[in-house]
């Protein structure tokens, strides 16, 4: 079966590409070829979408997301890892836009790539020793983890394929009457023209309490981060004093 071959090829490719101390060009090339084969297998087993344009756009953005996601985990330098992750975020934002979630696509770019990723890069620059550290050039149990990832991916894609093959399983029973009575173009209200306004209405209507809790969570994280920094420095001083005292004794 194509899917099993693709999953196996993906695992082998990750195993070959993960950092392992010495650089081996043949292993790298084989890993790249196997990765391309795995992606081709997944593309072949994917369902055909309605239009050619939609299909091409979805293919491009999802390939960008997956390939740069893989590059994130196999790159040795953590700075390059973060930059590949930014590209992967761009691909994910494209997938979200294809799925019709305009607000989330833009929010992913602004919040993740604009804020969280810049924070990661700042910390990397603060804490990066010059050159590639030894722990960036080796990885823990690459074979076992690649097999674990392959098992997870195989099971997920198998169950997703089975799910999508059954036409009755994933229709929404509660929404079906509304969809039948409504105009064919307006079957799904997540694709309406004013969908961002509707999303806001839903967020601040049905989920108002959760919004409040999320605000409290942000405040607690902010105060917690400051408190950890302040008390951590005091604890570091204590440690140094203890060490100095122990050495004197």
């Amino acid at each position: 079966m194509i899917l099993a071959g693709a999953v196996t090829a993906a695992a082998a490719s990750l195993w070959l590409l993960l950092p392992r101390g010495s650089e081996n060009r043949i292993a790298r090339r084989a890993g790249l070829v196997l990765g391309a084969a795995a992606l081709a297998g997944f593309i072949v087993t994917g369902r055909r979408l309605g239009g050619l344009g939609e299909e091409a756009v979805f293919l491009v953005v999802s390939l960008v997301a997956v390939i740069s996601g893989a590059a994130t985990i196999v790159t040795r330098s953590p700075v390059y890892s973060a930059i590949w992750f930014a590209l992967s975020l761009a691909g994910v934002a494209g997938v979200l836009l294809v799925l019709g979630a305009q607000f989330l696509g833009v929010a992913t770019i602004v919040v993740y790539a604009g804020a969280i990723l810049v924070m990661f890069l700042f910390v990397l620059m603060l804490a990066q020793p010059s050159g590639l550290a030894p722990y960036d050039r080796v990885s823990n149990e690459p074979l076992l983890s690649a097999v674990a990832g392959a098992v997870l991916l195989g099971l997920l894609s198998l169950s997703i394929g089975r799910l999508a093959a059954d036409p009755t399983c994933c229709a929404a029973p509660a929404r079906q009457p509304a969809a039948v009575t409504a105009d064919a173009a307006a079957t799904s209200d997540t694709l309406a023209v004013d969908q961002v306004a509707r999303l806001g209405g839903e967020l601040f209507g049905r989920h108002l309490l959760a919004v409040e809790v999320a605000g409290v969570l942000l405040l607690v994280a902010l105060i917690g981060a400051i408190a950890v920094v302040a008390r951590g420095e005091a604890a570091l001083e204590d440690d140094r004093r203890l060490a100095a005292g122990g050495a004197r004794r």
């Binding site: 990750l14 929010a107 992913t108 020793p129 983890s145 392959a150 997703i160 967020l203 981060a225």
Partner: protein
């Protein structure tokens, strides 16, 4: 619903769920193998991206905003998590001088074996060739050439 439209919707759902599963599996492999603490957090964020894609795919399929609202909360929690986690990473770096997860292996279970680092060969990759630009203008006073150049990022 129009059966053709339903089939297209199911196909989009299938493909988007597969993409989400791939991102999640990649993040899982990364968080299991990599030893740099910051790269491990990047992999956790990659897993969150996979979840977001799956949630929005179901939201699109059912024509319901629930999945998208959940993704907004995922974004919020990811921001909080990144802030707190990076503070911990910085503290860990201040204590050990390394961004290595194995620097904290003293916290492992008593029955687990210790991670032993084998001697690494010197990096056999030739150092990157940065372009040499011809000097233009005057050198600012007091600027030391060596302090401006780093071999690696």
């Amino acid at each position: 619903m129009n059966p053709l439209l339903a089939a297209a919707s199911t196909a989009l759902l299938h493909n988007a769920l597969i993409v989400g599963a791939m991102l999640f599996a990649l993040g899982l492999v990364g968080i299991l193998t990599r030893r740099n603490l910051i790269v491990m957090f990047l992999c956790a964020e990659l897993m969150l991206q996979g979840i977001s894609v799956s949630l929005v795919a179901w939201s699109r399929h059912h024509g319901d905003f629930g999945g998208q609202v959940l993704v907004i909360f995922v974004l919020t929690v990811a921001a909080c998590e990144a802030a707190v986690a990076l503070v911990f990473v910085l503290q860990a770096f201040a204590r050990t001088g390394r961004l290595d997860a194995a620097a904290w292996q003293g916290l492992r279970e008593a029955t687990l074996a210790r991670t032993v680092d084998h001697a690494l060969p010197a990096s056999d990759a030739s150092p990157p060739q940065w372009p040499r630009l011809s000097t233009a203008g005057v050198l600012p006073p007091g600027a030391d050439h060596d302090s401006l150049e780093r071999e690696h990022v």
